[in-house]
Amino acid sequence: MRDWLKQMMQPVQQVSSQGMSQVDAWFLQERHRFTITGLSRSGKSMLFTSLMTILKYRSEEKYNCLPLLESLPMELVDHMRIEPLPGYAMFPADAHLQALESGHWPAPTEQAYGFKLIVRLRQTGNIKKLLMPYTDVVFEFIDYPGEWITDMPMLGKSFSQWSDSAWAQQASEPQKHYSSAWHAFVEGFDFEQPPTREAVLEVVSEYRRYLQHAKAHGISMLQPGSFLIDGSGFDWRAEGFAPLPAKITSDISHPWYKAFAQHYAAFQDNWLTPLKESTFRETDKQIILVDLFEGLNHSRQHLYQLKETLSHLAETFVYGNPGWFARNVLRQRQIGRVAFVATKTDLIPESQKPALLSLLQQITEGAVAKFADKPIQFEHFLVSAMQTTDSGEHDNALRYTNPAGAYVEANFEPLPSTLKDMESDAHYPVLQAQVPKDHLPRMLNGRGLDRLFEFLLNQEA
């Protein structure tokens, strides 16, 4: 009850502390909170950079970009501005653009960044013009390392549950192929010795090596992903842990079990819980980025594993579609609209896109099932933040500049439209397209962002 009263009084307190700016915010702002969820290397940073650049050139220079974005009509856009998001470091858009300028892709994200993108629209109605001369459409975006998202499902598991499931995953393809060295290490390790700091560090370091090796080979479900980047707010060297064989986890009095369970609890309490409350807070719209090329680049098994990972990720978020009262008075935030987005789609020919979309739909079936009984609107999209390739000699070919600087034509055999259609012994190597010199026009000619944001912004969708 006290919490509810506090929530009810929050607007009044805000008005008294912030004055008219808060009143303006109520009447003149249309706020959209986006969670952009994506695994490592799914293209979040590039998507943000591209979106900011395209909107800037569209608003300020009147370039005819994002033609399908009807909710932000060009003729009504007055200006666009970017503001920091309280509690987050500012998204380094300039650094990313400089990296592109020097021919490099933006560096992987190793800490959380945030920003607010505010588009001011002029009013068209005569009376509205007098009362409310403009509307600010506010987008709030948070960029974070993709490695963190895979750890979220660990919040709902005990150490022994997590350890057993991690072992089970490592025992099956495709992880099995990459975990042999780690398994050999565990086989030969003396768990009868006390879990001293040095011994724990030795085990955790070896486990981390396995995680790094598997990540380099396209494995997406790797826990804890936070151990892979030093920007994470958890010291894996001091309080690290690793999955233990069942013979140890079955004995809760075992010193190694006790030590790792303690570290695991600290990981949950000191890292994951605050992380979820800050970075993965509830919002009303969610974009789930999927890099299907990570799977296609390796094998069918990798795609199945990607499907499983996405299904686990969907468990992390609160889905629902609260009514007006719940949303505005009770301040409840639940995700009511979800977009599944396959990124980097400039890396396949136009003719193969229907198959890629079908594959995306199948890969996300497990995640969709998590909110099947709720009034959630969802859609699948193909997006390219930059058009790095050109059309080839025929419909199934593409041209691009490879790392050696050569202009290459790649011919694709037809992409499978379902997982079972993909041959188990075949793969589609991802094109290693370099940053083109003319990256700005190619970014402004990116595909699918207008369709995606129209779905998310349109009130009637």
């Binding site: 005819n64 399908l68 060009m74 202009y407 290459v408 075949a426 793969h427």
Partner: protein, 299 residues
Amino acid sequence: MSADTTQRYRSKVTERTINTVQPEADMPAKIDDSTWQPGTEKRSLSLGTTTLLLGGACAIGFGVVSAVEAVLGYFDSYPITATVLGSLLAGFVLCMLTLVGREAKGFMNVNKHLSRQLDYQALEQTSDKAALLASLKRHASSFSAHSYAARCYKTFTQALNSDVSAQEALALYQRTVVKPVDKRAQEVINKESMTAGSLTFISPNHLIQTLMIVWISFRTIRRVAQVYGLRPGTLGNWQLFKVLAQNIAAQSIFDLATDEVANQISGSLTARFMENSAEAVAAGALNVRLGKALMKLLR
């Protein structure tokens, strides 16, 4: 991609180096947000002016010929002068014939345009993007080069890319061409109707009033047609003339009625003011009716 993956799996992508450099992409086109003005097309010397000049030259020429006829005598006697005069006359006749031909062609164009209006219901069902774009292009080919519709169509084509589906292209066409053009036409109609009302209000008698209405009606037709991209000279169209005639008839009947009401009330200035006000409103409304009919025909 690792060597391990390459060894384990068969590649479904083959590559070959081509001996060209990657072409540079163009920046997207900018939206033309300058104010559109009808009839801003500038020519050094229009055909009409040429005709007038030639006509004037003929008149002068014939005048001169008449004046010097006595001196110059007959053709056989003065072949050069007769040849010049003959050339001027031939140019004048040729230009007149061209003008008539253009009017006739314009009339045909209007009828052709009316018979090939876009069938949006059918287009909404199609998933064939190429066929849809061909239909839109065919339709847009009737827009004159400097019209507002042509400018909107250019914006539409600049926004198209390979990623846009047939239905998205149709929605985009409606948003970037149909709606703005209709909106602009509506603005023109409102402005012209206001002018029609104002002129009716200040007209001293019915003859001048009727002439004003006829003039404003033709002007409305011309200006709306300019928005839609049809040449102003091509609107000799019976459907519009029918509406125009109905309007004038309606206005005349309304004049009689308001006169009668004004006589019944009194002959005062107030009654005259009331009568003219009512007629002005009616004239404006009738002009809106004409404009709406025109929009329906040209859409």
